[in-house]
């Protein structure tokens, strides 16, 4: 039943709702049933909000009946459990917030609800978004729907897996070092990290504030455009949200890409890269050449420093951002603290998992007296070099392309005891976060039955162009339409 509702894109479902082919309630019930049926195996949701979803679906059906619709009216969306949702547990994948019922709603969730979206629930993630395999979640690892013995990537692993398995047609993610793009690549879906400041961070639990950015994840680029249209915009509650007008992403999707210049950074195709990974991305670029794009070689010499710079800056910010989880006002508090010190030590030791503790320690160290200059300041200098590299490249090209991840989904537990090897999973994505640029990952073929993705990086605020390029590619190819044989159906 390849024509089943769950195989349709958001764009197709929107048309179906408008045409009266099905109601939002039917659609929502369909996805809730799929989650019920399959998520036991996948573990992509932490919380399913069925009752609320159906109430929202009914309201959406009313709105459709009266012609009072928004961009996303009646479309089921799963939110990463990093976004605060009033009255609903917001765990951030951590024991620390297992009992935390958010008292307010994040701007992203609020804006999408205002456009009529139906929230299916909250998706699993690496604890506090720290991880590239979704194995650091307090709620257990998410499985990759293409191979249940493999990881879905992370930190937006629940979002990517539920999309790959068609348990939801659209999902929000956040990307600090690749957390939207890497899992998108590993699950054969499309995910966009917008320009830093394009989407409000209000209500999104902070990991590394100068890098965190929310974005859309879905089957296709046009779906991402639809979602981003609803998510983006200035928010006076977020000082780092930029007051730039939101482009017409949907309107730009079909722009002609003849004459487009694609830059291929040699650093994204190192000699050590798996040849099959490189080939898939080169094939994707060739496809775009066929559509009239020009290809030039460029160099981003400082990008090789992005992983070490990132693993100073991100933990440094995290060490401070996570200080508020102290057992005093909200979140986990240890039993019977004997004094203040005991309250802090035990609440935090019990509430945080190993990877979070590791990053807090690394970050606190990098900021401490006597080490600040050698680590934090130096990492910021590297960050500037990386930004300058990209700026120089964008003087010559419109977009940059290369593989999203250096390998396909790896086995659960394979990198558990080797954090540095885990950190290398984001080697191609992290530079973009350090520079604050927008980038998208799209499905570009398989290796041994496992998906691979290719990244399209654009200049600041050129999300419209990135989506346009990806959409053109997806019109010419059908990699993004491939769904895993999952749960005995397709």
């Amino acid at each position: 039943m390849s024509n089943a509702m769950h195989n349709k894109t958001l764009t197709e479902l929107k048309a179906g709702l408008a045409a009266g082919d099905f109601s939002s309630r039917e659609l929502t019930e369909h996805f809730l049933a799929r989650i019920q049926q399959h998520d036991g195996e996948l573990n992509s949701f932490i919380t399913v909000t069925a009752e609320q979803a159906l109430a929202q679906a009914d309201a959406a059906d009313q709105a459709i009946a009266t012609g009072n619709t928004g961009l996303l009216t009646g479309l089921p969306i799963a939110h990463k459990d990093i976004f605060c949702t009033e009255g609903v547990r917001t765990s951030c994948g951590s024991k620390m917030l297992d009992s935390f019922i958010a008292p307010y709603t994040a701007t992203v969730v609020e804006k999408m609800a205002a456009e009529g979206a139906v929230m299916l629930g909250k998706t699993n993630m690496d604890e506090f978004a720290m991880g590239s395999s979704n194995e650091t979640s307090y709620y257990g690892p998410v499985k990759n729907p293409w191979d249940l013995e493999r990881v879905p990537g992370g930190s937006s692993g629940g979002a990517a897996a539920c999309l790959g398995a068609r348990l939801a047609p659209g999902a929000t993610g956040t990307d600090t070092g690749g957390s939207i793009r890497q899992p998108a690549a590993l699950n054969n879906i499309t995910g966009l990290k917008p320009t830093y400041g394009r989407v409000s961070r209000w209500g999104m639990i902070a990991f590394a504030s100068s890098l965190d950015q929310a974005g859309p994840m879905a089957q296709s680029a046009d779906d991402c455009a639809l979602m981003l249209q609803a998510m983006a915009g200035h928010d006076h509650r977020d000082s780092t949200s930029l007051n730039e007008k939101v482009d017409d992403y949907l309107g730009a999707l079909n722009n002609d890409i003849r004459g487009l210049t694609i830059g291929i950074p040699e650093e994204f195709f190192p000699d050590t890269l798996d040849g099959a990974i490189a080939d898939n991305s080169r094939d994707a670029i060739r496809e775009l050449e066929k559509l009239g794009a020009k290809v030039v070689s460029v160099s981003l010499p400082s990008v090789k420093l992005s992983v070490p710079a990132y693993y100073v800056i991100a933990p440094a910010e995290a060490s401070s951002n996570l200080s508020r989880f102290d057992g005093v006002r909200f979140g986990h508090r240890c039993d019977d603290p004997k004094d203040l010190e005991d309250l802090y030590k035990r609440s935090r030791s019990e509430g945080f998992g190993d990877e979070v503790k590791r990053r807090i320690l690394v970050g606190a160290y990098a900021l401490s007296a006597g080490y600040y200059d050698a680590y934090y300041r130096r990492a910021q200098q590297v960050r500037r070099l990386i930004r300058d590299d990209f700026a120089r490249a964008f003087e010559k090209v419109d977009v940059l392309m290369g593989p999203t991840a250096p390998e396909t989904a790896f086995k659960l537990g394979a990198k558990k005891d080797d954090p540095v090897s885990m950190y290398m999973a984001d080697v191609f994505t992290i530079g973009v976060n350090l520079a604050g640029l927008p980038a998208l990952s799209m499905p570009t073929g398989f290796i041994n039955g496992l998906p691979t993705g290719t990244q399209i990086i654009g200049n600041y605020f050129r999300e419209g162009q990135i989506l346009n390029v990806a959409h053109k590619y997806q019109q010419a190819t059908d990699w993004h339409k491939q769904a895993p044989v999952f749960g005995g159906e397709q």
Binding site: T90, M204, I205, S239, A316, S320, S323, F325, R329, A369
Partner: protein
């Protein structure tokens, strides 16, 4: 050889903005605990700060008032430490690039000299909440109403050499921040809090090890705490000991101080620029607008008082010392028509009375208009200065305006010379021996002996005789 004292101050000045530094919550005074604390103030996950423009404006205004460089791109940083009343686990403050750079404040010393105290910098920061240790049965209560209140922390160079200079500086700073309207200046509400750094050395020696006494909330406590600490340091050094760099707490009730923590226990605050906030940009146009809106500063007011009212420098300095005192003085001077008398009364009788009842001049029971009226009556001879004090007391007690009191109590000076002449004649007639004695005395003795007759006349007139007129009459009649 005696000891030389070196004092530097850090002063927290609470800005009187409507809302907090990074949230829309109203500033709290006396509200129920935790009712003036928003999601941001509580440090809820996912919340973000947005800087209050008015706080930035007020901090920059302060910078201009002390002739400081204003940083065009000041940066907020996070000062990381754990404390239950610090909701985010860090205080958002400024370190490397504070909004106000180096400036200076001129103070007037009691010996008539002036001294310039250099300001190292002043930065914007948020206040913490309060920990309440009573009433919670061995637990601590947290009130986050104060969390996020905007402060500027003013840091001086170690330019003061005794407690009196430190107090003179603190008072001048109080005068500046209240004059430019950035702080309410209510010390009892913690609007200004002082940390004093004190060290001693022999003249010519390098700086000694300093201690910091924190959170002094009155000029008097500050003065006493400094003196106490100086004495302690002298005792330690003269006993062959060493000063330990430490933070101390002063208890004003018992006039004692104790060590709170030594340098070894000091936190590593792991400062770094706050990634949730952009640098605060201030343009030339912003500065021009601020300069144009700058209210009269205490030193300008002092100069004006010297020019307009012919006050001595010392009087002018005292009277320009706070916006409330200045306004009161000018009110009295204008209503009374005599600036010198106004100055004397405001600094003398009124100040003494306010001091005795621990009242602020803004709560004075005698208004500036009433004191002005009293001075007018004194000046036009309606009452004598002795009677004036009586009228002032009645006015203080709430018995009405001076004119009404003078009328009701019949305190008007006897200026009808015929009536007074008759009284004088009677006194001379009834005191023949004293008259005889007076007339036989030399001039020097006469000067003393006339007092008897003045006393008799005052008694007969219930003090209402005009002293000059009475003296004149007596001299004429006694010969």
């Amino acid at each position: 050889m005696s000891w030389e004292v070196v004092i530097g101050l850090e002063i927290h000045v609470q800005l009187n903005t409507v809302s907090k530094l990074f949230s829309g919550s109203k500033l709290s005074t006396g509200a129920e605990p935790n009712t003036q604390a928003s999601l941001v103030d509580l440090g809820m996950p996912g919340t973000l700060p947005v800087v209050n423009k008015e706080a930035v404006r007020k901090a920059a205004l302060f910078g201009l008032a002390i002739n400081a460089d204003i940083c065009r791109h000041s940066v907020f940083e996070r000062k990381n430490y754990f404390y239950p009343d610090l909701p985010k686990g860090y205080q958002t403050t400024q370190l490397a690039e504070p909004i106000v750079g180096a400036g200076e404040v001129e103070i007037q010393l009691e010996n008539g000299e002036k001294k310039t105290v250099r300001i190292h910098h002043a930065h914007l920061e948020e206040d913490a909440g309060k920990s309440l240790h009573e009433d919670f049965h061995g637990m601590t209560g947290i009130d986050l109403n104060r969390a996020g209140t905007p402060l500027i922390e003013v840091v001086t160079e170690p330019d003061m050499s005794n407690a009196e200079e430190a107090v003179a500086f603190a008072r001048k700073l109080h005068a500046i921040v209240t004059s430019i309207g950035i702080c309410d200046g209510d010390m009892s509400q913690g609007n200004m809090r002082f940390d004093v750094n004190v060290s001693i050395r022999k003249p010519g020696d390098p700086l000694g090890t300093r201690t910091e006494t924190k959170n002094l909330n009155s000029f008097r406590f500050m003065e006493r705490a400094i003196k106490l600490e100086v004495e302690r340091q002298i005792d330690v050094l003269e006993d062959g000991g060493e000063i330990v760099q430490e933070t101390r707490l002063y208890n004003g009730d018992t006039h004692t101080a104790r060590s709170m923590r030594s340098k070894e226990d000091a936190n590593d605050y792991r400062y770094f620029p706050c990634p949730d906030l952009l640098p605060v940009a201030i343009t030339d146009a912003d500065l021009e607008a601020l300069k144009a809106a700058m209210p009269e500063l205490p030193n300008a007011r002092k100069a004006r008082f010297m020019d307009d009212y012919q006050l001595s420098e010392y009087d002018a300095d005292l009277l320009s010392g706070s916006i409330a005192t200045s306004a009161f003085f000018e009110g009295v001077a204008n209503a009374g028509g005599d600036a010198k008398l106004a100055a004397n009364w405001v600094m003398g009788e009124l100040a003494a009375r306010l001091n005795a009842e621990e009242k602020d001049i803004s709560d004075s029971p005698v208004s500036a208009e009433q004191l002005g009226q009293l001075i007018a009556r004194l000046k036009d001879g309606t009452i004598s200065s002795k009677i004036a004090k009586q009228v002032f007391e009645a006015c203080w007690a709430g018995e009405g305006d001076p004119d009404a009191i003078i009328e009701a109590k019949g305190l008007k000076q006897m200026s009808d010379s015929g009536e007074l002449e008759k009284i004088v004649d009677d006194i001379i007639a009834n005191n023949a021996p004293q008259v005889e004695d007076y007339r036989n005395s030399d001039d020097a003795k006469k000067k003393k002996k006339i007092g008897f007759f003045v006393g008799q006349a005052m008694k007969a007139t219930q003090g209402k005789a005009n002293p000059q007129q009475l003296n004149q009459l007596l001299k004429e009649k006694l010969g």
